[in-house]
Symmetry: C2
């Protein structure tokens, strides 16, 4: 799967991913009002509104970007109708040729991780039929439970040509509380990075030399990005934290290899809620999708200039 | 919420929780065949079968137990119909007066953790209405992202009288890979335990002296259970790993305080798939729920004798 993502990145000259994290406050009023009118104030109305909002953004940007990253929490918070919106968003993005990175941060004991892996990037069998329940291409994985919690995801990747990004150093302010603690004279995130290399070892493809097991490293920690780029020679790095969380283009160079590959930078709020930003306010609420396109173009410019 | 759980534990003299982790292979053939007949081989049929199976187990055991712990991965793997079965299971268990511990192991950056917390143990507002989408009483939380990933759960607990159990030392074989690493001359799980104390500080209730922020510590690591019991004086400990994973009653004493409170032991497969165990085979497939009841009675005997 990583090869498919890399090819799309090269084709579009765009090492970026749009985070589809639809907070209710981001959805323009005209969309909300339409669905509240049809389905009253309900979770069902929210689910439909979120999906319509996402669809607009995908339609306005899919030719510029290789991938989208829906954050499942933003859907899960609205219960079953939210999960339906998640699933429809995944399916629609794939219809438009995008790679879909499900930001699910799952991780559990072995047999339970296997269930997550099968449901999100694998296949479940029912009688003589089989189904791909959520059908993302790549998912994010939490490593806190260790190898037996991650290996089932790797196995399912291999069986289905899918990928994972393992949390190594997250973008949030408290990420250092445990991840930076010193173990055997190096920070825990380096120990996790060593495991990422091990987990990915058997999934390296010869075409570009990257493995299907990538790493998440926040844009908000550029020095650690440089260190981890060197420690993870065969892993793609998914870099959240650009834009609204504080990372900018000049912080990103160190996450990439010299050939311009090796990293993919996520922006969520900065793209999907661009119309709420003064810079793009002239698009207005009804032009939210065009505002997202303009924000993608500006992000691409910033990143292409800096890497 | 912890008080409600403690009262139920005392009333039923049962510091145990039944893990509703319905692998497809556990669901008796007569239930599967019925739903395959009605809905053909489909995720919808699996969702209905899982719910009927769970309902049977709940009906046969609710008078003996204080709580159930559905593991969401086992539902999520079957997509939307699986999630519907999860939601219906939560609702039905609550109807029967059980405390519901959602084993979701979520954890993310702050604003995202808040979305998970609102969706699972909180309230979301839509126009002038509000909803409790999944409506568990307590959920499990992964601490790897640090305080800003956990605090939103604590805040939602306080606002809604709910609870969380934070992963401290998990029951799986690889849990030591990161959790046991030595930081400042103590294992990482102790550092996490110290944070659990901090996070729970403002949620301690005077009646029994426990906080709404508990800890997960696997039955498979009894010596660490003793250490963590001492380090976490105000936290209830959720103890998975009893039975099928290898923990037994004699390993459990150290997880409890002298008054017999302080811990709640989970068994999943050992209870819900008891009819597949030679010991309870005489109940047959159609007597699976009665087999579960017998297994609960045996588990209670084992635990009451040992703590």
């Amino acid at each position: 799967m990583i090869n498919k993502l890399i090819k799309e990145i090269i084709k579009k000259d765009a090492p970026i991913v749009v985070g589809l994290d639809p907070k209710l406050g981001f959805v323009p009023t005209h969309i909300l009002d339409k669905w509240y009118g049809e389905l009253s104030y309900s979770l069902e109305a929210v689910g439909e509104a979120i999906y319509e909002y996402n669809k607009g953004i995908i339609d306005a940007t899919y030719d510029l970007i290789p991938a989208v990253k829906p954050q499942i929490a933003m859907y899960e918070q609205f219960g079953i109708p939210g999960m339906i919106a998640f699933k429809k968003t995944v399916d629609y993005a794939k219809e438009k040729g995008l790679v879909v990175i499900g930001d699910i941060k799952r991780g559990d004991i072995g047999s339970t991780s296997e269930a997550y892996a099968l449901g999100h990037i694998g296949t479940v069998s029912v009688g003589d039929k089989s189904f791909n329940p959520f059908n993302e291409d790549i998912v994010t994985v939490n490593p806190y439970l260790g190898t037996d919690g991650v290996q089932p995801f790797v196995d399912v990747c291999k069986a289905n040509d899918k990928g994972i990004f393992v949390l190594v150093k997250t973008s949030n302010p408290s990420s250092g509380e445990f991840q930076d603690r010193i173990v055997d004279s190096k920070p825990l995130y380096e120990i996790v990075a060593e495991k990422v290399n091990e987990w990915g070892e058997t999934t390296v493809d010869s075409e570009y030399g990257y493995s299907d097991v990538g790493a998440v490293v926040g844009a908000t920690y550029p020095e650690m990005g440089v260190k981890l780029r060197a420690l993870l020679p065969k892993s793609y790095i998914l870099v959240p934290g650009y834009g609204a969380q504080g990372g900018s283009g000049k912080d990103l160079k160190g996450f990439f290899n010299k050939d311009g590959l090796g990293a993919i930078v996520n922006s969520s709020r900065g793209i999907i809620a661009a119309y709420k930003n003064e810079k793009y306010a002239s698009f207005g609420d009804t032009g939210y999708a065009d505002a997202s396109r303009a924000a993608v173009e500006d992000m691409l410019k910033d990143i292409r200039e800096n890497i």
